[in-house]
Amino acid sequence: MIIPMLEPEFLMGIGVLVTLVLAMVVRERSNTAYWSGLVFAVAAGVRSFTLHPAAHLVGGMMVADGYGLVVNIMVTAAVAAGLLLAFDSGRYTVEFPALILLAGLGGMIMGLAANFILLFLGLELLSLPLYILAASRRDARSGEAGLKYLLTGAFSSGVLLFGMALLYGSTGTVTFINYTTLHLIPVLLGAGLALVIVGLGYKLAIVPFHMWVPDVYEGSPTPVTTFMAFGTKVAAAAALLRVLAFGFALTSGVWGLALGYFAVLTMLAGNLLALPQRDLKRLLAWSGVGNAGYVLVGIASHTVSGAQAALFYLLPYGMAIVLAFGVIRVLEGQQEGAQMEDLTGLAHREPWLAAGLTVALLSLAGIPLTAGFFGKFYLIKGALQGDQWGMAIGLVVATIVSLGVYFRPIQYMFREGEGRPAQWSVGAAVVVAGAAFVTLFIGVYPQPLLHFVAHAATFTWLR
């Protein structure tokens, strides 16, 4: 029996195969494989959008529900953004589209996993192609990024696996729904849960499991970094939320407290360490760490509105970060990476590009009329409803610190002088325009998205 709710995953899987075959058949330096990858990613995203959210538990392995669909939409958007940014440069290998589609499929599987076997498979399907992609540029920095990502990834997967083994040993099951009746946490179970949180925390890049992030983000090719910053973070956060808020809902007092401390630490450390950065990709990497802390606030507040806020926040964050990386892609041209000085005078030379980056940075800082404002508003609301004053105060303090991070590039753009000339490409232009539109649209009219997400992040239907 084929369940209609799984059609996006099937589309993505077929897309991987078709793209692989196309990459083999057509000659090098042809865009055919990119087009095919883009078509399948967009088709999977659109199908997720049009499906009516129902809830099926498929053999205890996966839950096909609205939550999975929201994750699908965000992950396919990240895949499409990565493909578009790599599109007409001809610098990336022909395997690029198939690999990034495969990673996207892994992320989608993490969104609907209902037991640890599938969660682990999804995580590895997401990670393995990304190790290759991170090292896909032929220079030393890319190789270094790939190696660091591989070593931390293998280590974190090992921690996650051992945590799963302990959870299995203390409960006799790996299916999340069987955990929902647990009231107490014995020692073995607690150790297992802690290791699972640490293992997923590495992928989500929360402090103190974040040290790989800046190097990997800086060294990887920009399209790959774009996918990592959005797609990987969405998948990891979605899996963590599903395990904790759904599986361990009744013992939230135990993990909520620990996660709250991690959240405050991550928000403050991420934004403080972003302050002195001069490399734009590194700056955004640290900002991604800080934003992982914001998402964690929603998860740690263990209320329904907190879970909704965490899922909602992923989209404003993702759109802003995709927009910022799109601008970097236009700026960097043939030479990867961009420094703060390259922005000098951008507001006079390339007003549209400067406007795009400004929207992205304002949204990341959480200024009203951008999507980031509503994201942070609902996170604070969720934290306060869970009576978590400490996290709400931490979020506000971190936001104030982050103003210093995000206003500095804007300052550079309005300076007089000659920076680096921009090199527009059609794909990058589409990404910048699309992400800017979504950021501003959600910032002005968030109700439809909010309704969609709020419905998806309510797990109570199973209890």
């Binding site: 640890f116 076997i117 682990f120 498979l121 590895e124 393995l128 190790y131 290759i132 090292a135 030393a140 920095r141 190789g143 270094e144 990024a145 790939g146 190696l147 660091k148 591989l150 070593l151 293998a154 280590f155 997967s157 090992g158 921690v159 696996l161 051992f162 799963m164 083994a165 302990l166 299995y168 040993g169 006799g172 099951t173 790996v174 800046p214 190097d215 800086e218 060294g219 002195p276 950065q277 001069r278 490399d279 590194r282």
Partner: protein
């Protein structure tokens, strides 16, 4: 053999692997240590599956072994590729990016 003994062994292997990743500086050894952590988890899964008379843990052990094989394929290729650029393998020397 009682399950706690086997899980204790798995825990020891896991600890050795984790210590190896943190202490050693050769990427090959670090990668091998990480694989040890995976295998410790697989051992714990099998021990518990035996105790519960279930197949779930056994299936998970096979999944772990298969995924580890895929990861080794990619990992070794990456490490060899980096080795071609610099003859001495040390992660402290592979650090062009700082800050």
């Amino acid at each position: 053999m009682p399950t706690p003994w086997i899980v204790g062994l798995a825990g020891a292997v896991f600890a050795v692997g984790a210590a190896g990743v943190m202490v050693r500086r050769n990427p090959l050894i670090m990668f091998m240590s990480a694989e040890m952590m995976w295998n410790a988890a697989a051992l714990a899964f099998v021990a518990y599956a035996h105790q519960f008379h279930q197949m779930t843990g056994q299936v998970m052990a096979f999944v772990i072994v298969a995924t580890a094989a895929a990861e080794v394929g990619i990992g070794l290729a990456l490490i060899v590729w980096i080795y071609h650029r610099r003859p001495r393998l040390d992660v402290d020397e592979i650090s062009e990016m700082k800050g």
